[in-house]
């Protein structure tokens, strides 16, 4: 299973021609307790690094960017009533959306885990 990361702290788990998107544990640590997730509608078309949705925490409202271009095919509905799932399990149960990837070549602009971890270390 292939998981890639953005500099804006999103992750995308590639599953065939689709990708599941969420935010990293580091991002959650920065945001603090998440209070609201504004999910996109299914069918929304995004280019790579376009705004995909937004997340509100006690500290700030933040845009979440699409790691790859594509069409939203599913959203994590359980976040509507329980946004704290992201705090509890950012990189698994707290996934945000699933997209059908339109341009897989965009993966060249994303990072592998090790590279991302080093990038985060540089931010500390």
């Amino acid at each position: 299973m292939d998981v890639l990361y953005t500099k804006e702290h999103e992750w995308i788990r590639i599953e065939g021609s689709a990708g599941v998107v969420g935010i990293t544990g580091y991002a959650v640590g920065q945001l603090g307790d998440i209070t609201f997730v504004e999910l996109p509608s299914v069918g929304k078309v995004v280019k790579q690094f376009d705004v995909l949705c937004s997340i509100e925490s006690v500290k700030a409202a933040s845009d979440i960017y699409a790691p790859l271009g594509g069409t939203v095919v599913a959203v994590n509905q359980s976040l509507d009533s329980r946004p704290e799932i992201i705090n509890e399990s950012a990189e698994e149960k707290g996934w945000l959306v699933k997209i059908e990837i339109s341009d897989p070549s965009g993966t060249g602009r994303l990072m592998e885990r090790q590279e991302y971890d080093e990038y985060v270390k540089g931010l500390e």
């Binding site: 307790d33 209070t35 609201f36 509100e56 006690v58 500290k59 700030a60 409202a61 946004p83 704290e84």
Partner: protein
Amino acid sequence: MELIFEKSVAGRLGVALPDSDVPGSDFLPGNLLRTDPPPLPEVGEPELVRHFTNLSQRNFSVDTNFYPLGSCTMKYNPKVLEEVAALFSGCHPMTALLPGGHIFAQGSLELIYCLGRMLCEITGMDEVAAQPLAGAHGELTGIMIIHAFHKARGNRKHIVIVPDSSHGTNPASAAMMGYEIVTIPTAPYGDMDMNLFRKAMNGEVAAVMMTCPNTLGLFNPHVGEICAIAHEHGALAYYDGANLNAIMGKARPGDMGFDVIHLNLHKTFATPHGGGGPGSGPVGVKKELIPFLPVPRVVKIDDGAYALEQENPLSIGRISGFFGNFAVLARACAYIVLLGREGLVRVSEQAVLNANYLQEKLKKYYDLPYDISCMHECVFSAARQLKQGVHALDIAKFLIDKGFHPPTVYFPLIVKEAMMIEPTETESKANLDAFIAAMIEAAELAEKNPQALMQAPVTMPVKRLDEVKAAREINVCHLLAQGTGHKARD
């Protein structure tokens, strides 16, 4: 403290209203009529007065405490300005709009006109529209003017550039007009990275939005160059005037090269601010943009009287009812006249001096991410305190115990654990020293007893609030228990 509903006793009255002589039931469809009276609290007048007086005494405000909320210029408002605003309360806002009505509203129209001239003088712009009702409304108006300007020239530009230190309303206003936002990161010198900005500029950029001084409280030395580069590419330069309190009489956005600006009268020109307004966000423009200003515009006609220009083919149209928040305009006008040129210069000098005094005194105790002379506000980071598990929020809560309103925390977003302090010009050295002592005490406590900070506030009627629960489970309704006496009476 009990809610007013909990003090309610069935049948108790604070006032005796006469019976209604309007037969409402004759005009309204039966299904819309209540069968029972609304369950309003029933209390006597003394209980009512005591309830709200006690509530107001628990309020933290600039009238009760030092209020250093950064990015917002929460300055003290001279009470005499309330008297000035009240002088105009007899003039109905429709008066000037009636045919020939302007004759009966000359004082009010002259005030709007003269305030516009003074704001032009202060900012170096050519014309001001006073209607926008708040800063963000002014921004939207300004962006609409920019859009109309490009449209009239047949320009097809779809990008607006903002630095990442900008107020969130900047990109939001531009996005509302349909523009694509390009954000430029901050360079180590504390402002928009010039190399990245040059790279991002092209013929598709409609405008560059700048706040100067920016939200780090720093004056951008490249601001003239930024405007010039924008102009080279046919873009307009927009100035967010939220931080004008730092530069009045010293520098003018019009001279720096900005084409469109907005001001926040409720920040810089001393009108009540916070707790929901009302605000006022006049927009200023350079000459070539005057035709696009919103209508109606107050103009001086041949006989020296003031009248309204109601129509203009290029205007973006009406953006608010009547003439904006007129009472705020009246207060701002009086404030400017009372202080005069020298007074306004001293306001800015004192505001900047106070902020630098705080910055110098506190930088030993807190991290200062951009260690440069600041303007009207300084931004610290609680990163050092975080190592003991203490967040900016804990320090903010501790300050409440010490009798100070907390500074802005967690903004600007580009500073980790940000604490943004804007003392404003009105505070004495004694007040500043007391605040500095409390901040130093917080820093020392973070080292010795971080748990104590995490408990704060302990002296307030309400202790540490569960902000997460409050945000996730919003509940602002009081549920009345059944059968509490709120029954219909005959």
